[in-house]
């Protein structure tokens, strides 16, 4: 069966520090991968999605970036965090279309 792993579960970082959140999927090949952010009062915002290795689409211009170094690995990064980067970050995957979208358990990021 397919599983998605996302870590860490919680993270507290100072303003200006770097960020690296990792997501891996097991049990499937060539998934579509997504990073969403959930901020208070703003719902679920799509940040990046990838349909293959090295292919990243950015939905929202900001100081975050994403990379897909391997087929089932998706990394969210920042060189310098801002206060506004605080939120709940969710990784998700799908195969064969977005109607089968599965989410990880999320990372609660607090930038102080």
């Amino acid at each position: 069966s397919q599983t998605i792993h996302q870590w860490p579960a919680t993270l507290v970082q100072p303003v200006g520090s770097p960020l690296s959140l990792e997501c891996t999927v097991e049990g499937t090949s060539n998934p579509n991968l997504y990073w969403y952010r959930q901020a208070a009062g703003r719902g679920l915002q799509l940040l990046f999605y990838s349909v293959g290795i090295g292919q990243i689409s950015s939905e929202v211009p900001q100081n975050l970036s994403a990379s897909r170094p391997q087929d089932r690995q998706f990394i969210l990064s920042s060189k310098k965090l801002l206060l506004s980067d605080s939120g709940f970050y969710l990784c998700a995957w799908s195969v064969g279309g977005p109607e089968k979208l599965f989410f990880g358990s999320g990372t609660q990021l607090s930038v102080l």
């Binding site: 996302q6 579509n32 997504y34 969403y36 009062g41 703003r42 719902g43 679920l44 915002q45 799509l46 999605y49 939905e59 969710l90 998700a92 064969g96 279309g97 977005p98 109607e99 979208l101 989410f103 990880g104 358990s105 999320g106 609660q108």
Partner: protein
């Protein structure tokens, strides 16, 4: 591009009462529609989806939703809620090409009161 509007940010309801969570969408092409549920500090789980066919869709935990093309709506309903239904509910839309990511609404927090 598609968009979703969830009209209520919070809905309090007494246990065993019926509930309706409203969702309207905007799109220039045919769409797929979804409802997801998020329990505290967890990821999202799919409740139900409309891809094609019958406009009344039944999902898990006794929830159902009706696709209304003329009103561009996909409201979620449950005839009798339980305390365990307390959660955040998200409506989402994508075009029916299967190639575009889901666009989510801002969510509705359902609070079931004993």
């Amino acid at each position: 591009a598609q968009s979703v509007t969830q009209l209520d940010s919070q809905v309090p309801v007494f246990e065993e009462a019926p509930v309706e969570l409203r969702c309207n969408y905007s799109s220039s092409v045919s769409v797929y529609l979804f409802w997801y549920v998020q329990y505290p500090n967890q990821g999202l789980q799919l409740l139900l989806k409309y891809l094609s066919g019958s406009t009344l869709v039944k999902g898990i935990n006794g929830f159902e939703a009706e696709f209304n093309k003329s009103q561009t709506s996909f409201h979620l309903r449950k005839p009798s809620v339980h305390i365990s239904d307390t959660a955040e509910y998200f409506c989402a839309v994508s075009d029916n090409s299967g190639n575009t990511p889901l666009v989510f609404g801002k969510g509705t927090r359902l609070s079931v009161i004993a």
